[in-house]
């Protein structure tokens, strides 16, 4: 333990990544020539020097116990000279120089319950958030839905090859910490009941701030039993929860009305088509723990329609652009409703402003 006389260290920033790079990377840093996918979840990067770096990518639940992290460390010691990394989608990657170590590592991972996969034209891990595990704002759990969906999609991670990459993300509320707004498929927790004003609100929140927080002006100052508070014009609420972010005395979570929505066709990369937002596919599915069967089924249906219909390299949004939204709804069997039609700020720009329509069939 530190003694009291020691000066307190602050503002030191993260440790330099250089301390953690394996020797083969230090040597070939910035000098990689190309890569190849050897099998699901395994790729090799070849350097100008001829050096070969093997990457084995393993699934991770992201929510990890220190016990499990220590296991990763053990594997890294055993096969990779103590080196490993995590990916931007929360998978763990073991960095090998010995091709012969690949098989045993995969076996060890399998024994621990970690499938290897997610590289190339596959479904990788679901970027997700806290849910009922830690967040006050959640309209659904995060880890549980992810587990249920990935159990079902597992072959697309570990075995089957797909037309292109398919990125799924989940956020447990409209704050979208899972940054679901640009995903091939997004699962988004939604509240559907206006905030309920708790007594004593004026003691924890500044009423003018609360009023100002509402983008639709649904919150008005009010006076109840002689106490200043606010009232909600429920017809004008679109459940954004911004008021709750500003003031915890306006909870929105509600077992009867919370649930999930499904979004499709977003992407981030600049490959071929420009980055684009996800679009609403299913406005509402119920919260049905522990396995959220409606969500699992919906995602599976959408994945399969794409997997069977898309051309090589075609992302979800590119596929839908080619076949048209009417056909997307037809193929997935999803009902098209009023909720699908935008009515927010730029709504008019989402209307079909041409006579270019696929008729008939």
């Amino acid at each position: 333990m530190a003694t009291a006389t020691e000066p307190r260290r602050t503002d030191i920033g993260p440790p330099s990544y250089e301390r953690f790079l394996p020797p083969i990377i230090k040597k070939n840093y910035g000098k990689w020539k190309y890569h190849e996918i050897l099998r699901p979840g395994v790729m090799v990067h070849v350097a100008a020097s001829g050096d070969r770096l093997f990457t084995v990518r393993a699934a991770s639940p992201r929510l990890l116990s220190i016990t499990r992290i220590r296991k990763y460390a053990d594997f890294a010691d055993k096969y990779c000279g103590g080196h490993l990394r995590f990916t931007s989608r929360n998978n763990v990657e073991f960095l090998l120089t010995e091709e012969a170590n690949i098989e045993p590592l995969i076996k060890d991972l399998a024994a621990l319950g970690h499938a290897v996969g997610g590289i190339g034209n596959a479904i990788s891990n679901i970027v997700h958030t806290q849910g009922w595990v830690h967040c006050h704002s959640a309209a659904t759990d995060a880890s549980g839905v992810v587990k249920a969906v990935m159990d079902d999609l597992h072959p697309y991670f570990a075995e089957r090859t797909l037309p292109g990459k398919l990125r799924i993300a989940l956020a447990c509320c409209l704050n979208m910490c899972g940054a679901v707004h640009c995903s091939d498929i997004a699962i988004l927790g939604i509240h559907r009941r206006p905030p309920r004003v708790q007594g004593g609100l004026n003691k924890i929140c500044e009423i003018p701030n609360v009023v100002a927080s509402c983008p639709t002006a649904a919150i008005r100052p009010a006076n109840v039993d002689g106490q200043p508070t606010v009232e909600i014009d429920e017809d004008n609420c679109m459940f954004c929860a911004n008021c709750f972010s500003v003031c915890p005395a306006l909870p929105m979570a509600d077992p009867l009305n919370d649930g999930l929505s499904i979004w499709v066709g977003g992407k981030v990369s600049n490959a071929r088509t420009e980055p684009t937002f996800s679009k609403l596919a299913i406005p509402f599915l119920p919260n049905n723990p522990p396995r959220w069967p409606e969500v699992v089924q919906a995602v599976r249906t959408i994945v399969d329609v794409w997997a069977n219909g898309a051309r090589r390299f075609e992302r979800m949004g590119e596929f839908i652009a080619r076949i048209g939204w009417p056909r997307f709804f037809e193929l997935t069997g999803i009902e098209f409703t009023k909720e699908h039609i935008d009515d927010y700020r730029h709504a008019g720009l989402t209307y079909k402003r041409s006579a270019q329509i696929r008729h008939g069939r």
Binding site: K279, E339, D342, Y344, A347, K352, I357
Partner: protein
Amino acid sequence: MAKSGGNGTPMLDELEKGPWPSFVTQIKEAAEIKEQAQDLLKLLERSYHEKIGHWKHGGIVGVLGYGGGVIGRYNDLQSEYPSIAHFHTLRVNMPSGWFYTSEALRTICDIWERHGSGLTNMHGSTGDIILLGTSTDELEPTFKELTDNDFDLGGSGSDLRTPSCCVGPARCEWACYDTLHITNDLTHHFQDELHRPAFPYKFKIKCAGCPNDCVASIARADMSIIGTWRDDIQIDQKEVTAAAKAGLDIQKDVCARCPTQCMDWDGKQLSIDNANCVKCMHCINAMPRALQPGKDRGATILLGAKAPIVEGALLSSVLVPFIKLEPPYDELKDLIERIWEFWGEHGKNRERVGELIQRVGLGNFLEAIEIEPVPQMIAHPRENPYVFYDEYFEEGDDESEDDQ
């Protein structure tokens, strides 16, 4: 009659030079026979020097019983240009497709020689015959003579404007419905709405026979009726080959330009995946002898175009993806009336129907006019998560019920 031009209008005279037919020559021609045109010429020359117009809003002028059809104008230098102190314009319904006989044209000219400036626009931007400039007391006599000769006024103010259409089946092989007939029929059917402004703002209808949209309906009409078809494009393979031989690069200039890439040309045979064809017309335009629209024809109805004032310009968007259009067009007329009813009730003053839809949301608008939402109406579903749900469950509700 006094002579015009010469040294009196040096700037305008410049515009008599050059190969394009000159409007100045036109004013001068009229000035030969009408004093108003002489004064107009002089006033315009003055505007050219001063770089400013000299017209004032005319307030409401018109003919008895009509609220529209005349644009009132006064010049702001009345003592100097007395013959055009008033200079009101009459908007006159053109015949559908702008077809005339020489006799009909001469009738109009004669009326306008007797009662107006002798100047016209053939035609106004909305499509009317524009009789350009006369005084208040000539309005009734002009109207009398026009109606005696089967012509009537068009719209102005917050009313239906004269519907217009492309040449359609009269001369075009691509017309998917009878644009002339429907335009004439709607214009006659909605006389009251055209002549007596009772809407929140103006309402324009334009009818194009196919997606080439030769009347710019999607940009310029509150209701755009655009012909289209549902079945397969008709292909004459021999003519395709002939077009290729004649120098058309079918792969590059046709197939590669197809918006959905649904065409295939193997050098001998052209095939089209018609399920993915969006009826854009490009391939047909490029090979008029080889391709034709399908046989199951009708139209797409789109709603809401307008110029930018003040929220920005709008294009019309799809309301009815496909409709068969046969006389007496009851379904369409009924639809138009439902739209007007909702707009009349909920539209703000000077709010076009397209703006109303933006304000209340297309979903709510559809509900109000009793049309089912279909994905053809949108470019894509919403990108934001802000859905206004009307109802929610309360504890104690029967949970097995759906949205109640």
